[in-house]
Symmetry: D3
Subunit: 300 residues, 6 copies
């Protein structure tokens, strides 16, 4: 089971200039083969399917706990896309029969952001192809699953860097800066796990792709806070044996790896404004507001 906390793992800037083409690109980090849906679901299924947990608990705890963090990552990718789409149609107006979407028709957008969805994130990649369960690898063989996870994080890092290079919108940059640091921690964690089990030292491949995270300005605040060497324990009372795997020196900086109990402080989510042109949350949002007021009063 999970408990959900209505906070984001990191702060994102509020909506500024909309960037629907950029939002299309950022979808790769959501629904691509190496997107956050993939990291979330790979680790989630591997933890569900883990056999012999009692005797291999440090590894079970590691996978289960990283899975928990990944939920916060799909949340952030969604928030980024939603931020970038905000204002692509008039925030307070633009209702049909206005042609409020006509300026978008000729752009290289994901048409589902507007025609199917309500200027919201989708479980699709940058091509508009849906995420598929066939992206999940859960062989049950622990060494293989961990090798896969290391490779998955490597591919994810590659994709984050390229989205960084393609999309300059402040929300996308805040997102990729954060995900590069956190994904780097997961890369280390899986490399350490493989090393403990087989002796193979995957950290020698670091950084891969061969650009140090420290070169990316948007990673700096997170590195300064120590988030590049910290594994949060996303649970009130469980997954405590991650310390048995996640320890030793950081492969690039030599600093100690550390485990922290509980989630990061994170940030208050931004409440994104309605987009009535796409009926989100309604063609006349004020009606909903009115109803909600009454419902609250009734139970006050």
């Amino acid at each position: 089971m999970i408990l959900r906390i209505d906070r984001w793992g990191t702060e994102l800037p509020p909506p500024s200039d909309p960037d629907p083409q950029g939002a299309k690109a950022v979808q790769e980090l959501m629904g691509g083969r190496f997107g956050e849906m993939s990291t979330l679901m790979n680790y989630t299924f591997q933890s569900f399917n883990f056999r012999g947990r009692a005797s291999a608990r440090p590894f079970y705890d590691l996978i289960a706990n990283i899975a928990a963090e990944e939920y916060g990552h799909i949340e952030l990718v969604a928030a980024t896309i939603n931020t970038m789409l905000t204002g692509a149609t008039p925030v307070d107006d633009g209702r049909a029969p206005d042609a409020a979407l006509s300026h978008l028709k000729d752009l290289s957008i994901n048409p589902h952001h507007f025609l199917a969805g309500g200027q919201g994130a989708l479980p699709q990649d940058s091509r508009g192809m849906p995420w598929t369960g066939d992206y999940v690898f859960s062989s049950g063989d622990l060494v293989e699953d961990l090798t896969h996870n290391f490779f998955l994080e490597t591919g994810a890092r590659n994709n984050k860097l390229k989205v960084y290079e393609m999309v300059e919108h402040p929300a996308a940059r805040a997102l990729t800066g954060y995900l590069l640091v956190r994904g780097g921690v997961h890369q280390i964690a899986y490399a350490r796990a493989v090393e403990h089990l087989t002796g193979a030292d995957l950290t020698k491949m670091f950084p891969t792709p061969r650009i140090p995270t420290s070169k990316i300005p948007e990673c700096q605040p997170h590195i300064e806070r120590g988030d590049h060497r910290r594994l949060y324990r996303f649970s009130p009372d469980d997954y405590k044996e991650i310390v048995a795997v996640f320890n030793g020196p950081h492969p690039e900086t030599g600093e100690d790896l550390i485990v922290e109990d509980g989630p990061p402080e994170g940030a208050e989510p931004n409440d994104l404004p309605p987009q009535p042109a796409v009926f989100a949350p309604d063609y006349a949002p004020e009606e909903i507001t009115e109803i909600a007021k009454k419902l609250r009063k009734a139970v006050a």
Copy 2:
């Protein structure tokens, strides 16, 4: 963000006679269009994409909170499938070059349970087709999203009932008994939300399919505990406004609907044994046990 709790939402029986053909059928409740991956991801994306939360909070809280419960449901479906697959190959033996899977070759199984996975659950449906992001409906239009959710829960109830009729394995029965009760609560919740917003009384359709949950013996313990009229709040401090929507009488029994703070007590997960024939967690699981022991000692 989420916190993960290493407990199941309800108790499941330990492995008994394996039932790989039944496990194939139960996959519909995982990765089918109306399976738990779909309820989880529909509500999750709708909550991520919710615009104007502050003024419509009761509805946002409802969707976000039910999303949180659904994570526990994919966990239970996975646990059920894993339980049913346990023992389909020898638990302590059967390693290659033994022909430990040859007795499965002619059966109507999902071959990926054995050839791709390690006798573990997959994000696939009963045909073996992967779950796809195109199953997610997130229009941003609140009335539409809620109507969809009501319909989704109805379809899910239909599929649970049929899996119940097809699969008699004790784990499958425990699962469907539980999910029918919990899904019924979500059906009510979404019907109430639609009613609050539009006045349309969807509860008049209950029960749909037209068989009362109370007729299903495996639902009884949950009904007796009151779980058919209780919405748990899966969060330490958030989603408190669900009470503004989830209230009034239960459409079938007339009892009061109630909101409970925190998750259900649930149950300790069963630790399923290794299946060395499929190398889960290894061809020689005792090696991993040994390594884990040393790692624990090192940080003790």
Copy 3:
């Protein structure tokens, strides 16, 4: 069985300025999850699979008859797309080795409109993803199928409105104006059916999305003709019991709902000109004309 009539359900304007980017968007109304392929095939399969027709005939007739109308809708969406693509390459020239498609290369088009097809409609959505049989819901449970159909029409109305807002081409506007009115009739029909069976009054949700059809100028001529409250009976002699379901007042206007025997008068299809640059119907269309002339003479 069907009989086919070589007329369109409504008039469409002849080709004017081509709009290949708009044509890409209109594809959502053809092959999207809520497009006309989906309404056609959902109702068609539900009618094929209807069990116990004799004793539930009014409902069977309703679904079967609406299915018949939907065929005319995929025809109109195709005609619209074909109209919008006409002239995107030279109508009388532009044959290879001319670079007659080069001006299209950098636009946000569906490349299959030109590279795979001959400037013609495709069973794809606005992303270029093919329509899939998994969009068909046919549970056999009458209440569920009808609930689904109501939801499907709601989603379809949402998508039509957004295509309306995005695409100003006269053909697209004529199409969406017409489909909004006709889809509204189907929404009412399914709502009435659900009400008859369960008592739940779905018409309280109308209009959904919350914009009255009467606000859309292109809907006016159809409303004036009474097409917003008229169910045509698309059959020489069958499906007569639809009157038992489709009756009572229109939920928005209060006028009587009416059933009309036979199809609408409709309009003569426009004969769209060849596009030799894509070899439709040939690189040298005059050869075909010549052959056809001879064939006709031979049987005259």
Copy 4:
């Protein structure tokens, strides 16, 4: 537009011994690449997209008219599958909590026939894979489209013969006997069209696969009635120029090809009984019967 006639193109036997495994195989004729969904949708889209109809009318009429017949073919395939699935669960009983589907669990069935659908046909192939819009070929180039159609009918004939060999259920045999004869007519029609346009004589390939239809006993009644050389005109007033293409001798028998105005007489559809175990049309079908009675009385 179409008019729908509530009759089948040919008679099918009433339900006898159920054959769910056979029904799985027959799905290939529905949703396979060469199934009737494919012939229907290929010709339908080609007719929608036909450019320069006036001057090439005989060919337009041919494609449009055969498209109309194919609708009747998906109807018959569906009816066959529904017939074969009838009785696979108890016709009058078997409602949950009975384990009415448990005897099906170990069989090689399409699980969606029972878990997703209500013992009804699906737009899927024999593997359970959905029909996809990417099976439609509509190049706009008339010679190519016709060549494709000839090839499509050839592949369809191959698949029908193999389903014939695999499935002995009387409904499947009645279906394949009929479809082989009718598909043979379409093969001839497209071969003649290609010959008229290019001079290439495809009828020299007949029969392809190399088994004469006359060898199949279930084809005999249709051959005796002359249906192997008759093209029905499925329209009240249109598509009259098919006679300009469909003429001359039958390639195998030498008899004259003939065009008949109007559809075949066909047969009254069998009304298949409810299957309450899968809630089709309801868990308690008699409730619907009661409601329908009242609705009819109200408008009598």
Copy 5:
């Protein structure tokens, strides 16, 4: 088994102005239903599955040998795409944290060329949809497989002509000029095979589409070299019986068809430069160069 030769089937120009939008279009010739992946894999599987080879060897040899040539065609399509993508980011610079991909964001590109891949070709079509094994037709029936192959080559010719018309980049023109000539030879080969088996003369359809290859300037050098009537034998010692099928006059020019032992001379592949912005082959390619030098020295 195969032996691979590190040469291209024809010369391609070196990188000039990049054309990522054109590269997106050219993907249709790689991963489209009628692309070179399809011709390669259709003939490859048909040759693998050929039964009774000894007694039908001329036909087996024909299919197997053309399959071998197609490998060279996917190689050329890939080389063309790679050439067109070269320089779309700075060849010597542009590493993150530079925004080296930002100018691409708003263009109608295949985002996977940059975000997933390293400015390299993909097994996708012009929509970005992956090639699928369901494009392979291998019925085992020789006449049908050959008919299919003739149709496949016809569709391929259509697509090549349209890509020719859309993309003027010199590499795309060199590619399509070459493929049109070589595909034409395969069209003839399969037509001849069908004729030998059935007497049906498909060459009467030539050219199809109805534009003679000789009209395309970029085909001229290949026609002058006689490559429009020459079937290369891509094997040291096998497939010698192709001469029994591929003979007689060329259907358009009347010249003799000829078989040549061995592959064409072809051309040295161009070595395309690194694109460090997408880390191909590395963020710092000079490191790899250094390592490679040492490795070579070690074995020198």
Copy 6:
């Protein structure tokens, strides 16, 4: 370009008892995510897309050369499946209207082996899902591509071992015995390449899955011949720099790794008999034999 040699990489036994259920399982090694289509196409595209070949030639040669070997592997998997399907219908008889496929209807087979294909191999996995281009990883980043390839070979080894355990048919055992040895060589090759580039020693993971190849009896003849430490150079004159990467001791046996010029001697392919019930190569194969005879005589 390639040259094709009409020999198999290893000997396979002739058809014995047919095993269509086993053939379904073996398809995983053909079209699964880790099947031979995947290894072939991953390395092929990576070699096509390799940038800066001159200065990194040892790595280019390695990938390009292993790609060449993989073609021989899809050939062997196909041959195995074809062998196992031979005799599943009568070899000399069983033509329609016989019910020659009826005994297969209730078995857990891939229905496309019989209904779509002619008892031949398909580019599908064990579920019947088609291989897809999205299984190809070609990032352009050399370290990542090689890491992927190591992981891919590991997953492939896992799947081969499980197919070994499930399918005891002599052809399947001969296949898996051979592929395990050859795949092991590729695992080593990619591990060595990663080590040369980064210093990370992946061979410490060997064997993975943790069962030594030497334990598998069917691997013995290949190990005795030294094929577990030998990389063949599949080219007349190219890819010679593989020696710079593939050298040093075998990670499990300590023996020297060796490169051999040219392909293995291999074996003569078995000519599998016709299966007239599925029209492969014809309903009346003797007709083809007769025609082939005449064609040969004509050119003799």
